[in-house]
């Protein structure tokens, strides 16, 4: 009769000893953590994209609280979130300009012909190891989507051989920038939707031969711009977003359609 109790006692004893051990360990190795770290983490977007340079939102929150500084604001969070975090920590926040990534290429299969059939690994860097380009233009987007895989926000997809960025979904974390072997992804202010969609620095005729929407460096945009905001250097136009007023004159003037106004309109 009592024999049945023996295993009970043994198991119970084990349980008691183990739980005591756990209790002691939790007390002994307790590390104080500022409760505000958890609160800040809670407020952050929680995508763990790494755009701030830290290994995820919690690491960023820890740094913010420990340094007691918001000099490196979360690139993803909106102004409201940042001011909430600021209020929590008693820090002032500036309303930052929201940025988005944009692709400096319009080399779709129609505009820029393929010169070969790439059969290797689906990765832009792997493709560059096989050949500098797979299209007529050596500056063009390879369309293998290394940046798409780096995007935590589902804001990019491949269409017709090039990457398309959804401005609404892009949070400006900047994680895609370094994944492009052609350096085609640049950050621009979200509100400034006028972009030069080309990085070709070849002479006009060569650029035109390679791609029908290449910037040929004809300087027409520079001439029509009233705000001194667009300049041609090395056969390539570049917009100075500090000065650009989005008048759209350069877009009209461009003979090759290599400047465009992004269709997605957003409130600043």
């Amino acid at each position: 009769m009592f024999e049945i109790l023996i295993p009970g006692f043994i198991l119970g004893g084990f349980a008691l000893i183990s739980s005591t051990g756990l209790y002691i360990a939790s007390k002994k190795f307790y590390v104080y953590e500022d409760p505000r770290i958890a609160e800040v983490t809670e407020l952050l977007p929680g995508a763990n994209c790494g755009g701030c340079g830290f290994a995820g939102c919690a690491a960023y929150a820890e740094n913010v609280v420990n340094e007691n500084s918001l000099d490196n604001p979360c690139p993803v969070a909106d102004d409201e979130t940042m001011s909430q975090i600021g209020a929590l920590l008693g820090l002032a926040t500036e309303a930052g300009e929201k940025k988005v990534a944009s692709l400096m290429c319009k080399g779709t299969s129609q505009n820029c012909k393929s010169v070969m059939e790439y059969k290797g690994i689906e990765d832009c860097w792997a493709a560059v190891l096989v050949a500098d380009t797979s299209k007529a233009c050596s500056f063009s987007c390879l369309g293998l989507g290394s940046c798409v895989r780096a995007c935590s926000f589902d804001a990019m997809y491949i269409e017709d051989g090039i990457v398309v960025i959804d401005d609404e979904k892009c949070t400006g974390c900047g994680m895609c920038i370094s994944t492009c072997p052609k350096d085609l992804l640049h950050m621009r202010p979200k509100a400034k939707t006028t972009t030069v969609t080309c990085l070709n620095t070849d002479r006009g005729a060569d650029a035109r031969r390679a791609c029908s929407v290449a910037c040929i460096g004809c300087m027409k945009c520079e001439k029509v711009c009233e705000d001194d905001a667009i300049h041609v250097n090395n056969f390539l136009a570049k917009i100075d977003y500090e000065k650009c007023t989005q008048c759209g004159k350069c877009v009209e003037a461009c003979p090759t359609n290599s400047i465009e106004i992004r269709e997605v309109t957003v409130d600043a």
Partner: protein, 441 residues
């Protein structure tokens, strides 16, 4: 007793269908596209411009540092323009487009016009030898294109006690080195003697795989008066032409991980390079032409041809009657390490040992199947790397572990991809991994 290296290695079908074809000479083509960079190292500086008139042997691009190499014009003519062209192997590089005055003339006649010098080896100083080789723009002609004068200038703390001449030619299809050994054995020996003089009379081994018995015989005959030159027959095994494997096979010395042949006191030179060294001294001729094997299943009459650097592939295709409509795969070099190319306008460079033309039947770019852990890649790897695991680490972006498991020792010989039953692109992943590591540093 024929030798070989122990670890890994494979034996792909040799397919050396052009080994009995004598080196032929073509006419100078109507246009030459001389690429400005044909070597590993610092890029050159182009010193001609549109409209410049150049002589045969005149400098087109100048080396910009120690690890850099000159480029010369193989013909007299006029520079039409400087253009960016896709190269064999896929990079886009600047080329000088030259219209030769002598187009249509047989290249053999042009070679005959070069001067003939008598060299007194004893009077050549070490600096003089290195300078002549550097000025002549000689690079490793086996494929990598590393400037030869750099290889011949080891730092003072490294003593070189052996010189190896690489005549292994382990890649399938390629026979250009084989033909050079058969037809230019005397010149090769003269070139070797210059190198021997440079290194104070070190012993010299010429490693040749046993599938070239005529080359072994010819060189043994040519070298019989020199007791320090030994021809070493090697068991046929890929990648025996890899420096580290060749040193292991001939001397049984193992180049340490991340090390260079000079760490074990050895310098390795390719046979074509040795011939160019001879030409630089005895003919005052910089590196301006090379023997190229033209082969593949679309070539009705495969052969070996001496071509000036800058010859466009389209010229070769005309000469060998290759139908451009049928070509789907074009490889510069051998099928194991050679790179695919896509433009028929790409020019021949100093490192183009072969041009192979295939139709669809050449298997490339199949879809990857799941790894079944058969271990073929581990057994095939001549560096003893755990290829299957390394590629998984790269895919998982686990770079630190890959470095720890010596991914940087990969010689990209292609043995692993070749044997993989699941069509995995192991070499490509390894190259990508090495590329990521280089970028991060």
């Amino acid at each position: 007793m024929p030798k070989t290296f122990e670890m890994g290695g494979i034996h792909p079908p040799e397919d050396k269908i052009s080994s009995d074809e004598q080196i032929i000479f073509g006419e100078v083509p109507e246009k030459l596209l001389v690429p400005v960079d044909q070597h590993i190292g610092k890029p050159c500086e182009i010193i001609v411009e549109k409209g410049s008139v150049v002589e045969r042997g005149q400098l087109v691009a100048k080396s910009t540092g120690f690890v850099s190499s000159n480029v010369h014009s193989p013909v007299a003519g006029k520079v039409d323009k400087i253009v960016k062209m896709p190269q064999l192997g896929g990079q886009i590089k600047q080329c000088a487009l030259i219209s030769p005055e002598t187009s249509g003339e047989n290249y053999a006649d042009i070679l005959k016009k070069d001067s003939n010098n008598n060299i007194n080896l004893e009077k050549l100083s070490v600096e003089n030898i290195r300078k002549t080789i550097a000025d002549a723009g000689i690079v490793g002609m086996g494929g990598a294109g590393f400037p030869t004068h750099v290889k011949l200038s080891p730092p003072p703390e490294k003593t070189i006690d052996t010189l190896i001449i690489n005549g292994a030619e382990c890649e399938p299809y390629i026979t250009s080195d084989h033909r050079v050994m058969l037809e230019h054995a005397e010149e090769m020996i003269k070139g070797i003697l210059i190198l021997q003089h440079l290194f104070d009379g070190v012993p010299i081994y010429i490693g040749i795989e046993r599938n070239k018995p005529d080359a072994i015989e010819t060189l043994e005959k040519a070298a019989k008066d020199y007791d320090k030159i030994t021809v070493v027959p090697l068991i046929v095994k890929y990648p025996q032409g890899g420096e580290k494997q060749l040193i292991k096979a001939i001397l049984n010395r193992e180049v340490p991980s991340k090390g260079l042949p000079m760490d074990v006191g050895v310098v390795v030179q390719n046979v074509a390079t040795v011939l160019s060294i001879h030409d630089a001294f005895y003919h005052n001729r910089p590196l301006m032409e090379r023997v190229v094997t033209i082969s593949g299943n679309l070539v009705k009459k495969p052969g070996n041809i001496m071509l000036p650097i800058g010859t466009p592939i389209s010229y070769v295709m005309d000469k060998f009657e290759i139908d451009p409509e049928k070509v789907r795969v074009m490889i510069s070099g051998g099928p194991m390490m050679g790179r695919t190319s896509y433009s028929f306008e790409s020019p021949i460079t100093k490192t183009t040992s072969a041009l192979l033309f295939f139709d669809e039947s050449r298997i490339i770019g199949r879809d990857e199947n799941p790894c079944i852990r058969c271990g073929s890649c581990l057994r095939a790897c001549p560096m003893g790397l755990a290829v299957a695991q390394l590629t998984e680490m790269i895919k998982a972006n686990n770079i630190a572990s890959a470095v720890q498991d010596s991914i940087m020792d990969c010689i990209e010989c292609g043995s692993c991809s070749y044997v993989c039953p699941a069509d995995r692109r192991l070499v490509h992943w390894m190259r990508l991994g090495k590329n990521i590591i280089r970028r991060e540093n």
